[in-house]
């Protein structure tokens, strides 16, 4: 039976005189290496040069705040459910009086952790989020010495009020269309139509 047509009958036949001389083979090899002298190096001299990055690169996550600086996340857990790598864990808490400026809705995430070693940066958390709270950004997760250091808590994930992170590039039209579907229409923060007008 033959599964592929790539089968090759191996023979151990005696070498011809030219083959035993090795000189033709040596010349061939020398020619191959010499031809590489004139090829372009594909090297990127990293610290000085960087390779172009896609604007929608999926890197380190951010937990967005709203325009008033309150955290958007309500600890619904949809991102954790959507996560195929089970990298996300969270604990929810109830907002107390006087915390309205900190948390947008009555429920918020007391702790929110993403294990960056587990994360595969697929972006499903972002897709699942009904509150436009979690986004992947074009930042690269830093190298660490310890495994524990890769578990990012709220201190590293939540956007700083004085250092807003722009995620408009990741709010694509497809996402906007998806969010328009009845039943998932729960987010009034961002209107896909507006961006449609801006783009065209």
């Amino acid at each position: 039976m033959q599964l592929t047509n790539r089968r090759k009958v191996v023979s151990n036949k005696e070498q011809s005189f030219a083959e035993r001389l090795y000189l033709p083979a040596v010349a061939k090899g020398m020619f191959i290496t010499a031809s590489h002298l004139f090829k372009k190096t594909p090297t990127t001299k990293y610290p000085e040069q960087t390779r172009p990055m896609a604007p929608v690169y999926r890197g380190q996550h951010v937990l967005k705040r709203d325009e008033n600086g309150a955290e958007r996340c309500t600890a619904c857990g949809l991102c954790a459910v959507a996560c195929p790598a089970e990298a996300i864990t969270m604990e929810s808490a109830e907002r107390k009086k006087g915390e309205e400026s900190l948390y947008r809705e009555e429920k918020y995430a007391k702790t929110y952790e993403i294990n960056m070693l587990r994360c595969i940066f697929c972006g499903l958390c972002e897709e699942a989020c009904p509150k436009e709270a979690i986004f992947l950004t074009d930042r690269i997760v830093d190298a660490e010495y310890e495994r524990e250091d890769f578990v990012y808590g709220k201190d590293k994930l939540v956007e700083k009020t004085d250092k807003r992170i722009d995620v408009t590039k990741r709010q694509t039209l497809e996402v906007a269309e998806f969010k328009k579907i009845e039943g998932t229409k729960h987010n009034t923060l961002w209107d896909g139509k507006k961006q449609l007008k801006d783009k065209h």
Binding site: G29, T33, A34, H36, T41, P42, K45
Partner: protein
């Protein structure tokens, strides 16, 4: 007399510095050239284009911890690399680097010494060079080092024979002189020796690769089998001496090949160029141009050495011995026989 000593001292120092400088920059060029052959960039962080890399490498070697195994023979352990370095530096002394310079009616030869048996001297010193490796490998008291040393000595002895016979053929075409100075001067008029000795040159080149322990004949320091070969136990600058001496050997053997077979400081239409520039015999400009030509040839040979290294895989040891004894030796004998026959019928040899 004193002026003679000063002049010789200057030439000695110049050749010494030239050998060391070329060896230092050959290490850089080796890495650069390997990078070019492999579509890489190579070292480029130390200075512009990595030009200070040899300094950085040397500094690294100096500041590394120096380890002398307590089971080794201390005297021989230190003697090994010293001898290897010494012999590789000594080989440069019989090479004429350029034409003689005449200053104030006095002629100065740009050569440390012109021995009338220069080629024999070369072969002798090269043979002593293997003692450095042998002593180093033996004094290390380490089986890998010893195996490397044994390989090195048997390899060098095997290839010296074919090398010697190919040189004999060259000497016959050159009219029986053993002085390198005269062999180079002869190629001033007429053709370079490569035209008369193409087969001899190929044999010599292969043997030179084996003598300098360069790939594909680098079995004495075969990493995959012998850790580091004869220099397994060496560290710090003593290891540096071994690596450095290898590059000096490469430089000198390139110089010998460029000199004996490719005319050294001579190049086509040299005398026409000199007369067109209005230069007289003995002018320092002629020497400078000649030295430039010689150095270009040496550089090309060094590049070929590296090109071979980064192309061909290492031989198996029995293949190495087969090539040496069963291919190169008969070929060199054949070359010698043909040379003798041709020279006899041309009437240059009388029995």
């Amino acid at each position: 007399m004193i002026s003679f000593i000063i002049y010789k001292a200057i030439v000695c120092l110049a050749v010494f510095l030239l050998s060391l400088g070329v060896a230092a920059y050959a290490t850089l060029w080796e890495r650069k050239f390997a990078a070019f052959l492999q579509d890489r960039v190579g070292p480029d962080k130390a200075g512009p284009w990595g030009l200070l890399q040899p300094l950085a490498d040397g500094g690294k070697m100096f500041f590394k911890e120096e380890i002398i195994p307590n089971v080794s023979n201390r005297f021989l352990f230190i003697l090994g690399p010293s001898l290897f370095m010494l012999t590789s530096l000594m080989t440069g002394s019989v090479i004429p680097w350029a034409k003689d310079v005449t200053i104030d009616g006095k002629t100065y030869a740009l050569q440390i010494t012109d021995i009338n048996i220069g080629i024999l001297y070369l072969l002798g010193v090269v043979s002593i060079g293997v003692y450095g490796i042998m002593i180093a490998g033996w004094a290390s008291n380490n089986k890998y080092a010893l195996l490397g040393a044994i390989r090195a000595s048997s390899q060098m002895i095997s290839y010296e024979i074919a090398m010697g016979i190919s040189i004999i053929a060259l000497i016959i075409t050159a009219g029986g002189t053993l002085s390198i100075r005269e062999i180079l001067a002869q190629q001033d008029q007429g053709l370079a020796n490569i035209v008369y000795q193409p087969l001899g040159f190929i044999i010599f080149f292969v043997c030179a690769l084996a003598e300098t322990n360069r790939a594909p004949f680098d079995l004495p320091e075969c990493e995959s089998e012998l850790v580091g070969g004869y220099h397994t136990e060496y560290s710090s600058m003593k290891l540096g001496l071994f690596l450095f001496a290898e590059y000096i050997n490469m430089f000198i053997s390139s110089a010998i090949m460029a000199g004996l077979y490719f005319g050294g400081y001579n190049f086509p239409f040299a005398s026409e160029l000199y007369s067109a520039m209005g230069l007289e015999e003995g002018s320092w400009v002629i020497s400078l141009i000649g030295f430039g030509a010689y150095f270009t040839k040496i550089f090309i040979f060094i590049c070929v050495f590296m090109w071979v290294r980064w192309t061909l895989p290492r031989f198996r040891y029995d293949q190495l011995m087969n090539l040496g004894w069963r291919t190169l030796l008969p070929l060199s004998l054949l070359n010698l026989a043909i040379t003798v026959a041709v020279e006899y019928f041309r009437g240059n040899i009388h029995f």
